[in-house]
């Protein structure tokens, strides 16, 4: 081979290739943007994000904080994002808990429980999610009319929705109270599990954790008392007034049908991940724990579950990200999640590109944050060293 020697340098080639690739990509994006701009301008459409401050003029059927038709787009988008986060949190939590139960049933020794777990997984995993969503929504709509509401423990359920008794406080107060409780719970979990507190006596650790939970609950109580309007009654109970239900809090069928569908469908997948995790734990560790005299509860909580959880987590992260995206199916039954708010906004404003951009950015933000937090946890609890011993 002849030619200048730098052409044969490995480092030079690598750098040139990288630079060429990046430059090509930038060029492509630039070309696409310019083309789109020219085309939009010829059609008389203006791009930009000024519309975010215009009022929407249409109604949102479900939001955690109040919305009116006079609210601007950015507020609607935020509420849609919160609905997606709310649904995602409920769905992930529900799918995790139910999935753990199903996975344990599948990996246990009881043949009846194993069969039940298998039937569950085969049914919920093999039917399309949208079909399951329509099924639950049809079930919710097939409930009796308000006149014939089914009552249970102060709550009412009918075709119009689920009516729960509740405290007479505003949504902001509820958010603060829930936040306070969650902070207390989070602190307690941190104190109990973080490695930095490992050298503390467990009794002291448990006491601090209990205090954190109590403080969170007391904080929640304080928020509720402060946020309560003295003129109102403390609790509101749903009751039939003529042809409709008065009082209480209404949960619309779209919401709980989607929550049930995401939970049950997600649980089938989580269940299989849980089963795989437990299967990966070597019998040796459990035998060693048994030989040391640990009770079966302690063997489960201190050895089997922690080791299984480490095996599950990387796959769970994937599943969680997937489930969050699955909440967009809410549009099929009319639940106002982020996706549906975007879709309606596009219909009303015609700013397709901008809204699609916001939609993508929103989901990237949610799922990237979720994965980042869980990956951080995964790294923190990963087994140290390379010799994984005693799988025999």
């Amino acid at each position: 081979m002849t030619g200048p020697s730098f052409l044969r340098s490995r480092a030079f080639r690598r750098v040139t290739l990288q630079a060429g690739f990046v430059a090509g990509l930038l060029l492509l994006v630039l070309a696409a943007t310019l083309t789109a701009r020219t085309n939009l301008a010829t059609q008389g459409l203006t791009s930009g994000f000024d519309f975010l401050w215009k009022s929407t003029g249409w109604e949102m059927n479900f939001s955690l904080l109040p919305t009116t038709t006079a609210d601007p787009y950015w507020w609607y988008l935020l509420m849609g994002l919160m609905n997606t986060l709310f649904m995602g949190t409920l769905g992930l939590a529900g799918a995790s808990v139910l999935g753990l139960v199903v996975g344990l049933m599948r990996s246990g020794r009881n043949p009846a429980a194993r069969l039940l777990g298998t039937i569950y997984i085969e049914i919920f995993r093999n039917l399309p999610l949208i079909l399951q969503l329509f099924f639950w929504y049809a079930m919710a709509n097939a409930l009796p009319a308000p006149r014939a509401s089914i009552a249970f423990g102060g709550a009412l359920i009918n075709a119009r929705g689920l009516y729960l008794p509740g405290l007479m406080v505003g949504p902001g107060t509820v958010a603060l109270a829930v936040l306070s409780g969650l902070v207390g719970l989070g602190l307690a979990i941190w104190v109990l599990t973080a490695r930095r507190f490992n050298r503390v006596e467990p009794r002291g650790q448990r006491r601090v954790a209990l205090l954190a939970v109590l403080a969170g609950l007391i904080g929640a109580g304080v928020f509720v008392v402060l946020g309560h309007d003295p003129a109102d009654a403390w609790v509101t109970l749903p009751a039939l007034q003529g042809l409709k239900i008065d009082g209480g809090f209404r949960i619309q069928p779209e919401f709980y049908a989607l929550a049930i569908a995401i939970t049950t469908y997600g649980a089938a997948y989580v269940g299989e991940i849980v089963r795989g995790g437990f299967k990966s734990v070597g019998r040796g560790q459990m035998e060693a724990a048994a030989a040391l005299g640990l009770s079966s509860w302690h063997i489960f909580t201190r050895v089997r579950l922690p080791l299984a959880f480490r095996a599950m987590l990387p796959i769970l992260i994937n599943q969680y990200v997937w489930l969050i995206k699955a909440t967009t199916l809410g549009i099929a039954v009319g639940f106002s999640d982020f996706f549906m708010v975007i879709a309606s906004s596009i219909n009303h404003s015609g700013q397709t590109f901008e809204f699609i951009g916001i939609l993508m950015a929103g989901f990237l933000l949610i799922n990237f944050s979720l994965a980042a937090v869980l990956n951080r946890l995964n790294r923190a609890i990963a087994l140290k060293g390379h010799q994984t011993t005693g799988s025999a």
Binding site: E201, A290, A291, L292, G293, L307, Q387, T389, S391, A392
Partner: protein, 257 residues
């Protein structure tokens, strides 16, 4: 021996282990055939025999990692029966060291050693850690206390496993082929620790192929084949004048090269 308050009802004057007419089946396979064995307190017994002869199964019956089908096992007079309480009681007093170490890979060496004393003996973390450091020093590995099992060599891991068993301050230690998974250069460091324990009077039952160890510390050597105890004798007699043909064949295979 220790400051730990013991709530057990064990009779330390009874034989440490008393096995009578023990039988165990895996399906139709007769794994243990009428085993009778008595080990007194402070005695060191080495169990050897070809693989599949039931050695491991026998010692795993003593702390009920395997259930036996008939016969009786008594540990310091407490009989192992269907009563789960008797299993808990015996496991507290019988430590076990495994071929594959079986350390808890998600816990540091120190946590491996303090887990059971804190949960089972209900002692404070400070006391459990002090005890753990004492035994980690005994197995010559105190400087690794904050490391994780995966960061140690096989020999170090097995010494941690021995320390972990000792932290429960058991009356009896069972060893299930403790050196079989180790590289040759690490076998000595583990055997040294076992010799020290033997010299200090620990009651030990060791399943092992280390005949040098058997010669050095065993009070009795037991030879098993096809689920039966074929021969039991003090080491000089066992290695000097084995009575059974099967023992002679086994010894020629183990010592022959």
């Amino acid at each position: 021996m220790s400051a730990i308050a013991r709530t057990n009802v064990m009779d330390l004057t009874a034989p440490a282990i008393e096995i009578t007419d023990l039988n165990k089946y895996y399906g139709t396979f007769h794994a243990l055939r009428s085993i009778n064995l008595t080990v007194s307190k402070g005695e060191k017994v080495v169990v050897c025999g070809p693989s599949g002869s039931g050695k491991s199964t026998m010692i795993r019956c003593i702390n009920q990692l395997e259930e036996h089908d008939s016969g009786a096992i008594r540990v310091f007079g407490t009989q192992l029966d269907d009563n789960l309480g008797s299993i808990d009681e015996i496991r507290r007093e019988v430590g076990m060291v495994f071929q594959q170490f079986n350390l808890f890979p998600h816990m540091t060496v120190l946590e491996n050693c303090t887990l059971a004393p804190m949960l089972v003996r209900k002692i404070s973390r400070a006391e459990a850690e002090a005890t753990a450091m004492r035994y980690l020093e005994k197995v010559r590995i105190p400087d690794q206390a904050q490391k994780f099992p995966g960061q140690l060599s096989g020999g170090q891991q097995q010494r941690v496993a021995i320390a972990r068993a000792l932290c429960m301050q058991p009356e009896i230690l069972l060893f299930d082929e403790p050196t079989s998974a180790l590289d040759p250069e690490m076998i000595a460091e583990v055997l040294d620790v076992m010799v020290t324990l033997a010299q200090e009077g620990m009651t030990m039952v060791c399943v092992t192929h280390e005949m040098g160890f058997a010669r050095k510390v065993a009070d009795r050597v037991i030879f098993m084949d096809k689920g039966e105890i074929i021969e039991e004798a003090p080491p000089e007699e066992f290695f000097g004048q084995p009575k059974s043909d099967r023992t002679r064949l086994f010894l020629s295979q183990v010592l022959g090269h």
